[in-house]
């Protein structure tokens, strides 16, 4: 919507006005002095970031924000959520409007370099897929030659889509719409034959927005790699380290079998690695400039990665996604944390 590029222009102006928002160490200190984290999230994507019926933000991306706030302040509620469109998200982070962008954002080379961002480890490994109506009888993405395809603007999906169709010598007509709700509406009304996005997002849309979820299928092909990761802006390594190690902590806790329910019992564990992780032996907090008990607080208040996953997008959620490549490396997945020592 035009309002959104007016917002983009406005952030450009803030970028021009704010002298020295991004000096070394300033983000960490500014957040600490402010007393809460400003976290950029999606405007509404079930399972990742959306307000529930009580207006409370929930989702996998949202929980990462809460985990960072817990590590820094010992309180998962010290977060202000700022919903951002795909268009606004990078300027909002660059200009200092948010401290952390946790908004199903794909980690790419351009974004990591030219856009001035640093990406924490991926919190969800995704891939772009296609959703079609079941009655169209399509079994493979290779049958999509000539189709009309609905896609949301300002995403890596437009590029992947063009690459895929070019490499298979097929044609398509794209319908590029800015607001996600309008994209979904166009697809479900039959304007497009196909809806394309990250498969997790397709599953979310199918569960939340389809008139009848059983009428739609997601095709088996994944046409891209989409590592969705939290991002911070360049210029404050201390802040970047914190965000990165908060994500690792949720993985490490899962690997050690520590959940929000068992974390109190784990405090008395004789295992020295667990003692170090939970701050029984001092060390893990000091080097990050925060309390040694931060991992304990994060696991107690937010949970380990496995709990976050299952609660928001896994078997306990309407999305019902498998762990797949998002399982721990010990179970054949890609989730791996460096050692806490």
């Amino acid at each position: 919507m035009r309002r959104e590029w007016v917002a983009a222009a406005w952030t450009v102006l803030t970028l021009a006005m704010a002298s020295g928002v991004a000096q070394a160490g300033t983000t960490f200190d500014a957040v600490k002095a402010r007393g809460f984290v400003q976290c950029g999230t999606n405007v509404g994507l079930a399972g990742f970031s959306s307000p529930d019926s009580n207006g409370r933000w929930t989702g996998l991306d949202v929980d990462i924000c809460r985990a960072v706030a817990t590590a820094l302040f010992g309180d998962a509620e010290k977060v202000k959520f700022i919903p951002l469109s795909t268009q606004q998200r990078f300027t909002a982070l660059q200009s200092g409007e948010v401290d952390l962008l946790s908004r199903n954002t794909t980690w790419t080379l351009t974004r990591d370099t030219e856009n001035g961002l640093h990406f924490a480890p991926a919190t969800f490994y995704d891939g772009q897929g296609f959703m079609v109506a079941k009655k169209a009888g399509i079994k493979s993405a290779l049958e999509l030659d000539g189709a009309s395809i609905c896609v949301q603007t300002g995403t890596t999906t437009e590029l992947n889509l063009s690459d895929y169709f070019r490499s298979h010598k097929m044609t398509f007509q794209s319908v590029v719409i800015e607001a996600l709700s309008e994209v979904n509406h166009a697809f479900f009304s039959g304007r497009c034959d196909v809806l394309t996005s990250d498969t997790s997002q397709l599953a979310s849309i199918r569960a939340a927005d389809a008139p009848n979820p059983d009428d739609y299928v997601i095709l088996p092909e994944l046409i891209s790699k989409e590592p969705l990761a939290p991002a911070v802006r360049h210029g404050d390594d201390q802040w970047f380290d914190l965000v990165r190690w908060v994500v690792f902590a949720t993985l490490e806790a899962e690997e050690r079998g520590i959940t929000s329910k068992t974390v109190d019992a784990a405090l008395t564990s004789p295992d020295p690695t667990v003692q170090r992780l939970l701050g029984v032996q001092p060390g893990v907090g000091h080097s990050l400039g925060i309390d040694d008990k931060w991992v304990y607080n994060v696991i107690k208040q937010v949970g380990n990665y496995g709990e976050i996953f299952q609660r928001n997008v896994g078997k306990e959620s309407p999305l019902k996604l498998d762990r797949g490549v998002n399982a721990l490396w010990t179970q054949g997945g890609l989730m791996y944390s460096p050692p806490f020592r």
Binding site: R2, Q94, L144, G146, S174
Partner: protein
């Protein structure tokens, strides 16, 4: 005078300070700047192209494609909205009770609902109410209306059409030269028959081709013919109807501003109602109508940027994607502003020139 100089200096200083600050912050955040990205391959498809386009083209060409899409909807929109607005404006003054009331209801309804909502409404009407391509409505032979848009037959590509175009342009140029030489234009009938004659000759010279490119179902959608997408139709409908409501009011007030004595005097001289409108009222009303009309035309062009909301690939939509893929928001937003500034200043200049011509001298 001194204060003015100081003020201008302060404004220039402020802009310079903002620019220097922005560059400084961009450098500190190691964010790339400059327009070098325009020559890089864009790697995304634009949904509708007036010139051949593909994902292999540069961002610069994608920008041009978007610009042409904006000009297409703006150009067609300006003509249609002026016609519709004038018609409704005259309707507002109609002595026919029903016509006047209908025109009034239209103006009040359309003028007071936000344009964005109207666009969503038209888009929903087209995509929800119309059937899929396989059950497409066919109001005329070979014309299809579905939720994929309006498909109409087109004259099949042939060199004949190029020569017809050249012949018409050549005759228009010759007529202009003759008109200037004679200090007045040729009689309309003569000029018209010359034009038609030249076009006909050029067409016959190529063997009078009549082949049509007819839309037909192939795979998911129609192929061939000329297609108007639902996004284009919804945007055009929304813009034309919305702006026409404002133009109608301008036309009404322009006509009412002509002293009724003029009409009475013309009637006393025995002129017919049609002649009164053409010779007495319109020449005077136009002088009052043109300046506010210009501002409505500019509004229509600017409002066309709402296209992103319903997925029409206008220049804003293309630059949005460009900004997202390259991350160069400042350059992209500057290009959006530059485009609308140039288009609108050009249109303003044209309308001002026309306005100066029709003023009493």
């Amino acid at each position: 005078m001194a204060i003015q100089v100081l003020l201008v200096g302060a404004v220039i200083g402020l802009v310079g300070w903002l620019a220097a600050n922005a560059l400084d912050n961009l450098a500190r955040g190691s964010i790339a700047t400059g327009f070098g990205f325009l020559s890089r391959p864009s790697n995304f498809e634009v949904g509708e192209c007036l010139i051949p386009c593909s994902a292999a083209d540069s961002y610069g060409r994608a920008f041009l494609v978007g610009l042409l899409n904006t000009l297409k909807v703006g150009g067609i929109g300006l003509v249609l909205t002026t016609l519709l607005g004038t018609l409704i404006g005259i309707g507002l003054l109609s002595s026919n009770w029903l016509a006047a009331r209908l025109a009034r209801v239209y103006v009040e309804l359309v003028r007071n609902v936000p344009l964005l909502l109207q666009l969503f409404l038209w888009y929903a009407v087209i995509t929800e109410a119309l059937p899929g391509p396989r059950q497409a409505l066919s109001p005329l032979p070979n014309v299809f209306l579905s939720n994929r848009g309006l498909m109409v037959p087109m004259l099949a590509a042939s060199p004949a059409w190029l020569s017809v175009g050249i012949a018409v342009i050549a005759v228009v140029v010759i007529l202009l030269i003759i008109g200037r030489w004679r200090r007045r234009p040729l009689p309309p009938l003569m000029a018209g028959s010359l034009l038609v004659g030249a076009a006909l000759l050029a067409w016959l010279a190529w063997g009078a081709p009549t082949a049509l490119d007819v839309p037909h179902l192939a795979g998911f959608n129609f192929r061939g013919g000329m297609a108007f997408s639902p996004e284009f139709l919804a945007l055009l409908l929304g813009l034309v109807m919305y702006t026409a409501a404002f133009i109608a009011e301008i036309v009404r007030s322009g006509i009412l501003a002509v002293d009724p004595g003029q009409t009475e005097a013309a009637r006393a001289l025995g002129l017919s109602p049609g002649l009164i409108l053409r010779l007495v009222i319109l020449p005077q009303a136009l002088r009052l109508i043109v300046p506010p009309l210009t501002s409505q035309h500019l509004n229509l062009l600017k409002n066309s940027s709402l296209a992103v909301a319903i997925g029409y690939p206008d220049v804003v939509s293309v630059l949005d994607t460009t900004i997202n893929q390259t991350g160069q928001a400042i350059e992209g937003v500057a290009m959006i502003m530059g485009v609308f500034l140039v288009i609108n200043l050009t249109l303003s200049a044209l309308m001002n020139w026309y306005n100066a011509r029709i003023q009493l001298r």
